[in-house]
Amino acid sequence: MSASRMGPVSTPVLDLDEVIANRSTRVIVCCGAGGVGKTTTAAALGLRAAEQGRQVVVLTIDPARRLAQSMGLDALDNTPRRVAGVDTSRGGSLDAMMLDMKRTFDEVVLAHSSPERAKVILENPFYQSLSSSFAGTQEYMAMEKLGQLRAQDRWDLIVVDTPPSRSALDFLDAPKRLGSFLDGRFIRIIMGGAKTGGRAYLKVIGAGLGAMTAVLTKVLGAQVLKDLQAFIAALDTMFGGFRERADSTYRLLQASGTSFVVVATPERDALREASYFVERLGEEQMPLAGLVLNRVHTTGAAALSAARATAGAETLSDSGEHPVAAGILRMHAERMRLIEKEQSLRGRFTAAHPRVPVVDVPAQPGDVHDLDGLRIIGAALADGAR
C-alpha cells in the first residue's frame, strides 16, 4: 500500500494569510496549553498582518521579557503602544500592550461608580486581593480588555493572547462563571438584611436564611463576613454593567468576525489540551480557524531512516574511523525518532479532527526575541498553504 493511500492526505491546511487578509476578521484569539508558544504566535500574526496593511493591536498577557522588549513593551502601563521597526509601507500599523489586571479592574471600578463609591471599593481588602493577587481575575480582565479595545474601534484587527490558565478552558468559562455567580442566591444571602431591595426575595428563602448566615459567620468569622458584605454592597451597583459586558464579550467571541487559533506543540499533553479546546469551541459555536502546530521537527534527509543511520554510526564506531560522520548519523537517528513520534501524535489529532485545518511551524534553533524572528515565524505560519 502506498504511503499516500495510508496517510491523512486530506487534512486541510490552515491558511493564516487568508485569515488576516480577510477584512472581516476583527479578532484573532490564540489559545492553548501553557508553554506552547501562544504569545509568540500572537505577536508573529499581529506583525504579519500589520505589514500586510492592517491596523493591528496585539494584547499579550505574560510575554517573555526579551520578546516584550523587542516590541517596546518594557513599560507595563496597560495602554497600547506603537511598535517601532514595523514595515508600514502597505498602510498598516502595529500597537501592542501587556495586560495589567489590577489596573484594568481599577479602571472598570472607576468607570462604573461614583468617585465616593469607587474609593470605598478600591480600599476594601477583598477588592485589593481579588484584583491583584487571586488567580482567575486575569481571565476576567483579559476579556474585559478585549471588549474595551474592540469598543474603542481604533484598530481593524485585535490579536489576543490568552492567560496561562490552569486549564486553557478557563478563558472561555470565566465570563460565564461571573454571570452565574451574579444570578446566584449566594450574593443575596451573604448580604443578608443589609440589602433592602431583596426583602421580598429573602422571605422566599425563609427560615433557611438565618441558619445560612450563622454558618457563614462561623466559617468566615464575623469580621471577614463584614468586609465581604461591604465589598459586595459597594460593588452592587456595578454588577449589572459587569454582567452585561461579560455577556457581550462572550457574544463577540461567537461572532463571525472572530477567529480562534488553537496553538499546540507536537507533544501528547499539548495536543490533548488542543483537542479539548477544539471540541469546546465547537460546542460553544465559537469560530475556529484551525490549529497552529509549533516546534515541529523536520529534516532534509528523510529518506535515511533512524535504523539505517544508527547501524551506519555503529559501523563507523566499530572501525574507529570518521567520528564526525558517526556523530552526525547519531544525531540524525535521534531526530528521525523524534519526527516519527511527532508525526504519530499529529496523526492522532488529525484523525480525531479531520476537518480542522493545521499549519506546522518548524522548530527554531533558538528562542524568538526580535521582530526578525517574529517575521520568520509569521512566514512559517503562512507557508503551510503554499
Binding site: 468569622g221 507533544e267 551506519g312 544525531m331
Partner: protein, 329 residues
C-alpha cells in the same frame, strides 16, 4: 541502589514547579517513586484537575481519594491523590464545623461554587490546606506519609499559590480561618518544605526559573533544587562542534564517512545532515550558556536525560533512579 544520602533529609513536603512544558508532572512522579525507599510511603498530589498522574501511571482517573499507584524501585509504596477544590471544601467544612445538612445547603445556594471558582484564591487555600493535612496526618503517632510530593502550579503562579495563606491571614485577622492559614504558612516556610524548580536548557524556562527562585526567596519560601529535564549529550567533540556552528565541517570527509558507514545518500541529504549538525552545535552552545545561568543561582542541580520516545512507566523508573543516584532522593 541508593549510593549516597539524600540532599533533602528532613524535608517532608517536596513542591515541584516549572514552566509549562518542562515536564514538572513527570519529574514530580519520578521523585515520588525515588523517595519510596524500602518501608517508606510517599504521596503524589496533583491540584490542577488535569489527571496527569493517572495518565502517567496508566490508571483510571483518580477520584478524590488516596490510592496506591506504584511500588518504588526501593520497594516502598507510592500513593496518589487528585485534589478537587469542591470536595476539599466539603471535607474541610465537615471536619472543622460538622456542618452536615447545612454544608449541603451551602452547595445548593452556590456558596461552594462561589468559594471554589469565583473567589479563586479560596481554591488555592483549599488545595494547599489539603496538602498540609496530608503532610501532618498521623497514624499511631507516626506520619502516614514519609514524604508528600506536590505537582504544583507552574512557575508563573507558584509563589502566589504557596503564599495564598499569607494573603488570607491579611484578610482574616482572627478566627478559625486565620489560625488554619497561619499553620499552613508555617509549614510552607519551614525547613520541612522544599520547592524544586524543573527547567529545560532553553532561554524562557531558565529565565522563569531564575524569576521563580527570586520570587520564592523574597516570599520566604524555601527553594529546593533545580531539575534540568530533557538533557541531551553532545554528539560531537568540542572542536567539531565549534566547526559545525560556523558551517566549517569538512563536507567531503563527512561524505566519505557516510559512504564508509554504508549509508549512501544523495548530495542534498549530505547538506541536510550538515545543517542538522550546525543546529545541534548551536543548541549545545545555547545550552551551555543556559546551564551557566542556572549554576549562578547556587542551588543543587539534578539532570535528567531526554527520553525521545516519550515517558511511560518504565521511563519514570529510569528518571527515579537518576534522581536517587544524584542525591535528590
Amino acid at each position: 541502589m541508593v549510593s549516597r544520602e539524600s540532599d533533602w533529609e528532613g524535608v517532608r513536603l517536596h513542591v515541584v514547579t516549572g514552566k509549562g512544558g518542562t515536564g514538572k508532572t513527570t519529574v514530580a512522579a519520578a521523585l515520588a517513586l525515588a523517595l519510596a525507599g524500602e518501608g517508606r510511603r510517599t504521596l503524589l498530589v496533583e491540584v490542577e484537575g488535569r489527571q496527569g498522574i493517572a495518565q502517567l501511571f496508566d490508571c483510571p482517573p483518580l477520584p478524590y481519594e488516596e490510592r496506591k499507584v506504584a511500588v518504588g524501585p526501593g520497594g516502598g509504596d507510592v500513593y496518589a491523590l487528585a485534589v478537587d477544590a469542591e470536595d476539599a471544601l466539603m471535607e474541610y467544612l465537615e471536619m472543622f464545623y460538622r456542618l452536615g445538612r447545612a454544608g449541603r445547603g451551602l452547595r445548593r445556594i452556590g456558596a461552594i461554587d462561589f468559594a471554589t471558582t469565583i473567589a479563586p484564591g479560596t481554591r488555592d487555600v483549599l488545595l494547599t490546606g489539603k496538602v498540609y493535612e496530608a503532610v501532618r496526618r498521623k497514624h499511631g503517632g507516626q506520619p502516614v506519609y514519609d514524604a508528600v510530593v506536590l505537582d504544583a502550579p507552574p512557575t508563573g503562579r507558584i509563589t502566589r499559590f504557596l503564599g495564598v495563606n499569607a494573603e488570607v491571614a491579611g484578610l482574616a485577622k482572627v478566627g478559625p480561618i486565620r489560625s488554619q492559614a497561619d499553620s499552613i504558612m508555617g509549614l510552607m516556610r519551614s525547613p520541612m518544605t522544599a520547592v524544586h524548580v524543573v527547567t529545560l536548557l532553553e532561554e524562557m524556562p531558565v529565565q522563569e526559573t531564575a524569576d521563580a527562585v527570586g520570587e520564592l526567596t523574597a516570599a520566604g519560601l524555601p527553594v529546593g533544587g533545580i531539575v534540568v529535564n530533557g538533557v541531551r549529550a553532545p554528539m560531537l567533540k568540542q572542536t567539531d562542534l565549534a566547526a559545525a556552528v560556523k558551517g566549517r565541517l569538512d563536507r567531503d570527509l563527512v561524505a566519505k564517512g557516510l559512504d564508509a558507514a554504508g549509508v549512501g545518500v544523495p548530495a542534498t541529504a549530505v547538506d541536510a545532515l550538515l545543517a542538522g549538525a550546525a543546529e545541534h552545535a548551536e543548541r549545545v552552545a545555547l545550552e551551555k550558556s543556559e546551564r551557566r545561568t542556572l549554576k549562578a543561582l547556587h542551588r543543587p542541580m539534578y539532570e535528567l536525560p531526554l527520553l525521545v520516545e516519550g515517558i511511560d512507566l518504565g521511563g519514570l523508573y529510569v528518571m527515579a533512579e537518576q534522581l536517587c543516584r544524584q542525591g535528590m532522593a
